[in-house]
Every structure is written in C-alpha cells, then in structure tokens.
Amino acid sequence: MASAELRLIRRRIRSVQSTMKITRAMELIATSRIAKARVRVQQAQPYTEKMTDVIRNIGAATGSLSHPLLDVREVETAGVVVVTSDRGLAGGYNSNVLRLAERAIAAHRAAGREVRLYNVGDKAIGYFGYRKFASASEWTGVTDTPAYGDARTITNRLLEDYESGTLDSVEVYTTRYVSALVQDAVLWPVLPVQPPEIDEEAGEGGTSYEYEPNAETILGRLLPRYVEGTIFGILLEASASEHAARRRAMKAATENAEELVRLLSREANQARQAEITTEISEIVGGAEAMAGG
C-alpha cells in the first residue's frame, strides 16, 4: 500500500514541527535575554569608566604609577582564561573562542612559555578536558547571567596566582558583542594592568589631590577592584554575545525547519495524489473487468 510512504512522511513532518516549536521558543527566550544582558553591560560601564578616571587622576597627580599589578614581567608562565557558555546550540559561539584560545596556547608553547589554563563554562571544560589540557581552575554556572560575586571569585584566584609568581600574565579569550549580528572572539589582556593613558593636556595634571590615607594605598586597593570590574565586564559581554549567537542559531534552525516542512508537505501531497490515482485506476480496472465479464 502506498499509504505506508505517506504515513512515514507525515510522521517526519510532525517531528520537524515539534523541533521547530522548541527552536522558536529558544529563539524568543534568547531575544529577551539579549536585551537584559545588554542593559547590564551598559549599567556596568560607568563603574569601570570612573575607576579608569581615578587611576588616571592618581597617575597624573603623582607623576607615575607604580604597583606590582602594573609591572610588566618577563613571561615564563602565561595565564589563559577561556570564557565559553555552559550550553551549546549557539552556532559558532563556543568553537570560535575555543579555536582562538587553542591557537594562542600553541603559540605560547612554541615560544617556550608555560601555559596555565583557567576554564569558564562547561564547553571549555569539555573541550580542553577531551584534549587532556589540565586546567588550574574551572568555573561553571557563571556565563548565563554573571553575578559580580562570580567575577570576584575568578579575579581572586587569578590575582592569587599572579601575586605568588605562578603566573606572569593573564589573558582572557572571550567574545565581544559588536552588534546583534556580529560577535567577535577576542583576546583581552588583563594582567599586568595596562594603565590608562595619562593625558597631560586634559588640565587635570596639575590638580593636587589630598589622599586618605595615601596614593599608594589607594592605588593598591583600587587595582584589584579594577581587575574585578574588568572581568565582570568581560563576563557580561560574553553573556550578551552568547544569547545573541543563540538567537541567531535558533532563528536559522527555525527557518530551516519551516523549509523542510514545506518540502515534506509537497512530498506528502504527491504521495497522497499517487495513492488516489492508484485507487481510481484500480476501481476503473475492476469495473471494466466486471462489465467485460
């Protein structure tokens, strides 16, 4: 019976349609989360900007900045932090940043530098775990909606290793949110802290501040907070990128499913038509046989 073929096609249509419901729901969820994540990125900006201001002012007022976190050391061990998501279904989001990080690790090793790996997100843990890259620390449950406490935990660990001399630099591989359609995997140097450009012309250079207790102490307390703020910003932007990448991937998946349903429906119609044609010719054939007999 031809209806077996028809049944199979209809079953596939139903299966594709239910997948489509899921991808469409994920697309909608991601869309609403991008907006929230973008707002958080924007709200976090004043803090880092003001901090940069303060560091710049201290630099301008004291003539030079000096602090262990600012010193550029010869890099023997490079700290590599890879920020990925915990979940997949986000198109090229994870593979782009993982590829960038893996290439950088290879480059460090080729140059004779040790690499200490810090993984953020299940995807990085899985990727490097499979390739037998041991990691110094790993964190999960962070990138979906990063909290400031997460940034603090990660920063504390990095600063501890940096201050003890286990690390000579920290670079973060993450994804930068450029626009809803473009997110770039980038390298973000974090340690040593790159002091902001001191603009002598800005007119702030001549301001003499009164410090409580003193400039060194304030700088010493400020820089770890600054690193925290930077890491927080990185996490927030990675999160916005993740949701944007997922939205795009799910939109494409939904569109593919729609196309597939269209093609399958056409096939189903053809199969149904063929079945009817067969039935008619059988009836006609039968009737003729009766009439003839």
Binding site: R40, Q43, A44, P46, Y47, T48, K50, M51, D53, V54, N57, I58, A136, S137, E138, W139, T140, G141, V142, A147, Y148, G149, D150, A151, R152, T153, I154, N156, R157, E204, T207, S208, Y209, E210, Y211, E212, P213, A215, T217, I218, R221, L222, R225, E228, G229, F232
Partner: protein
Amino acid sequence: MADHPLFTVDIVTPESIIWSGQAEFVSAMTTEGEIGVYAAHEPTMAALSTGAVEIHTEDGTLTVGIHGGFLQIFQDTVTLLTDRAEMTDGGRVEALRLAEDMRDDSADGGGEASG
C-alpha cells in the same frame, strides 16, 4: 536645613548607578575616619570602609549602606565607587546593618570554583 551650595553626587557600583543627584552635604566613613563634604571641597581621593553614607539633599537625608570602595572629590563632583551599595529608609543604624550584611556575604564568595 541651612542653605548650602549644591554639588553632584554619584554612587556607582558594578551593577548600576545606585544614586545620582544634587546634595548639600555628604558624610562617609573612610579607612582613616569620618569625612564630611560640602561644596567646593578640595580634590580628594579616599578609601572607604564598609559603613553608612549620608547624603543631605534639599528634600531630606538619604542613607546608603556601602561595602568598601573609593571616594573621589573633583570639580564639585563626589563620586563614590563601591562593590555594593543599598539605599535604606531606616536611617544610619539600618544602613550600618546592611553594610555589615554585605561584609558577611562577600566573605562567602560567590559562584562555584574547583581546583
């Protein structure tokens, strides 16, 4: 309240700008002791300790519990940068209690970590 010239105050945390507006007087606890700020204060940079901040505006007094951070006074703008801040109606005592809670919270750290 006596008439004093106004100046701008911003309380900024990593999550958002908690409060921004005009004030007549601000008091905060630095690591060295209490600091009181009127308009035209000289440029100052101070490390804050966990505690209460009072902002006297034209409409009344606001209290905010803060967790560490920095205070910058520059060109009649007072910027308070802090990890966490919470506004309260409960006055100074309540603000201090909030600040102590924040200190306890942050001692636990956040997120999951494994070595």
